[in-house]
C-alpha cells in the first residue's frame, strides 16, 4: 500500500469531497461566517445594508445557518416624492435555515422574518434535492409560503403613524434540474409559479388622472389592484469551463403573469481567477418588460376602469446592469480557527429607463414654470450604483 504524503492525502480528500459536491447535494458545504456591507444609491434613495451569516455543520448530515440583515433606507423614490415627504426606514430580516442529508437527498427548511415599520413578512421555505443518473443530474423541488402584513405610515419620517391596511399571502412552487452535460459544461433549468392573494398594491404609489379643475391639470388617486396574482418564471442557464482556467456563464429567464406583464432577463458572466489569490468576475444583465394591462401613467378620469395602477414596477421598462467583482483570498492558508478567508468587493451600475412612466416631480408644476401639459412630461429614468464589501471566513 502506498502511503501518500500528508498534504497529498488532504488534497485527495478535498478533491473527493468536491467531486461529490459538484455531483449535487450529497455533501454539505463548508462551515463559514460572512460579514457583509452594502450601499445602494439611485433614484433619490440611499440604502445601506449590513449583514452577518453563520453556517455550521453539526455532523456530515446536518447543518444550521443563521442570517441577520439590516437595510437602512433614507430618501424616497420618485413617486413617493411626488406626493409625500422624505422617508426614513429600517428593514430587519432574520433567517434560520436547516439542511439535512440522507443518502442522495438533501432537505432544506428555512424561516425568514422581515420587519419594517409598515410591513411585516414571515416566510417559510422547504425544498429537497435528489441526485440521480450517476450523480449527473440533480432535481430540486421547493415550496415557499409567505404571510405579509401591509401598513402605511401616515405620520412623518420621525413621528410615524402606521395604519395597518390589510394582509397579503404568497405561495411559491418551484422545480429545478441541474445537469452535468460534459466535463466542462453544466446547465440548469428552473420553473417557479407564485400565487398571491390579498392587498397587493403599494400604498405609497398613486394613480393620476386628468382633472381640468385644478391648476396642475391632473389629480392623484388611490390605486386599485386585483386581489389575486399568479406568475410563472422559467429560467435556463449554463456555465462553461474555458480551456484555460476561467468560466463563462449565460442565463435567460422568461416571465409572465395574470396582470399581463411579460419580461425577459438575459445575463452574461465571466470569471477569471489570477493565481490562487484573486478571482475577478464581470457580469452584464439586460431586462425588459411590458406594462400591466391595468397600468397607465395618466388615466382619462377617476375610476375610468375597474383596476388602476401607476406603480413604476408595472410600467414598460428596461434596465441594464454592468457589474465587476474581485475576491481576494487574503489568508489562503488560514489563520486562528479559520481554514481560509476571503474579502470581496463588488460594484454594480444599473440604468433604469421607463417607456410610459413620466417624471412628474419637477415638471408641470405651475410654481416652477408650468412647462409641460399632463402626459407630455419627460419619461422617467435613473441610474443606481450598488456597492458590496464582504468578508468570508471558512472554518
Amino acid at each position: 500500500m502506498t502511503i501518500l504524503p500528508r498534504h497529498l492525502s488532504r488534497l485527495a480528500a478535498l478533491a473527493a469531497l468536491s467531486l461529490i459536491c459538484v455531483a449535487g447535494a450529497a455533501v454539505l458545504p463548508d462551515d463559514r461566517a460572512d460579514l457583509f456591507w452594502s450601499q445602494y444609491r439611485g433614484g433619490g434613495m440611499d440604502i445601506t445594508g449590513e449583514s452577518v451569516l453563520v453556517r455550521k455543520k453539526f455532523s456530515e448530515q446536518f447543518a444550521l445557518e443563521a442570517n441577520y440583515f439590516v437595510d437602512k433606507v433614507s430618501g424616497a423614490s420618485i413617486d413617493v416624492l411626488s406626493q409625500a415627504s422624505v422617508i426614513k426606514d429600517e428593514r430587519k430580516q432574520k433567517t434560520v435555515s436547516a439542511d439535512y442529508i440522507h443518502d442522495k437527498t438533501q432537505y432544506n427548511l428555512s424561516y425568514t422574518n422581515s420587519t419594517e415599520r409598515d410591513y411585516i413578512s414571515n416566510t417559510t421555505h422547504f425544498s429537497l434535492s435528489q441526485d440521480m443518473f450517476g450523480d449527473l443530474t440533480t432535481v430540486t423541488l421547493g415550496f415557499t409560503d409567505s404571510r405579509n402584513k401591509v401598513g402605511e405610515n401616515n405620520g412623518t419620517a420621525f413621528k410615524p403613524v402606521i395604519d395597518w391596511l390589510g394582509h397579503a399571502t404568497s405561495r411559491s412552487y418551484e422545480g429545478g434540474v441541474s445537469q452535468i452535460l460534459t466535463k466542462n459544461l453544466i446547465a440548469g433549468a428552473t420553473v417557479e409559479v407564485i400565487t398571491d392573494q390579498g392587498l397587493l398594491s403599494n400604498p405609497y404609489r398613486s394613480i393620476r388622472y386628468l382633472d381640468p379643475t385644478v391648476p396642475l391639470g391632473y389629480s392623484l388617486g388611490s390605486q386599485v389592484y386585483p386581489n389575486t396574482h399568479t406568475s410563472t418564471a422559467v429560467e435556463g442557464r449554463a456555465k462553461y469551463y474555458l480551456p484555460y482556467r476561467a468560466a463563462a456563464s449565460l442565463s435567460y429567464r422568461y416571465f409572465s403573469d395574470t396582470w399581463g406583464v411579460r419580461a425577459n432577463t438575459i445575463e452574461l458572466g465571466y470569471t477569471q481567477p489570477v493565481s490562487n489569490m484573486f478571482i475577478f468576475e464581470g457580469r452584464l444583465r439586460h431586462y425588459n418588460q411590458n406594462q400591466a394591462t391595468f397600468y397607465s401613467d395618466l388615466f382619462p378620469f377617476v375610476n375610468s376602469q375597474n383596476f388602476e395602477a401607476r406603480d413604476q414596477n408595472l410600467a414598460a421598462s428596461t434596465n441594464n446592469t454592468i457589474d465587476g467583482k474581485v475576491t481576494w483570498a487574503f489568508a489562503p492558508e488560514g489563520f486562528l480557527i479559520f481554514k481560509r478567508a476571503t474579502v470581496s468587493f463588488d460594484v454594480s451600475r444599473i440604468q433604469f429607463k421607463y417607456s410610459d412612466f413620466r417624471n412628474i416631480k419637477y415638471y408641470n408644476d405651475t410654481q416652477q414654470g408650468g412647462l409641460y401639459q399632463p402626459g407630455t412630461e419627460p419619461l422617467y429614468f435613473f441610474n443606481a450604483t450598488v456597492l458590496q464589501v464582504f468578508g468570508s471566513f471558512f472554518f
Binding site: 455531483a23 445594508g49 413578512s121 428552473t190 420553473v191 418564471a233 475576491t327
Partner: protein, 74 residues
C-alpha cells in the same frame, strides 16, 4: 429447466442494465466542474441582496433560487 432459469436471469439483467443510465462524465472527470469558479452562486448574501434589489424595482420575480422578504415599497 436450469438453463432456461439462467437465460431468464441473464435476460432480466440485460434489461435492467439497459434501464440504468451510465454516467458519461465519470466522477474522476469532474475536477473542473468542482472548481469554485464553476459554482452558480458562491456568496448567498450577495446573490439574495441583488435579487431583492431587482425584485423591488421590476414587475417580474421568481426562478432565481433565492428566497427573501420585505416589500421594498419605498
Amino acid at each position: 429447466m436450469r438453463g432456461s432459469l439462467k437465460l431468464g436471469i441473464i435476460g432480466i439483467g440485460l434489461l435492467l442494465g439497459a434501464c440504468s443510465i451510465q454516467p458519461w462524465v465519470k466522477p474522476y472527470e469532474r475536477d473542473r466542474l468542482a472548481d469554485p469558479i464553476m459554482s452558480w452562486d458562491r456568496d448567498a448574501i450577495s446573490a439574495g441582496y441583488l435579487d431583492h434589489i431587482y425584485e423591488s424595482r421590476e414587475g417580474s420575480r421568481g426562478a432565481t433560487g433565492t428566497a427573501g422578504g420585505g416589500c421594498g415599497c419605498n
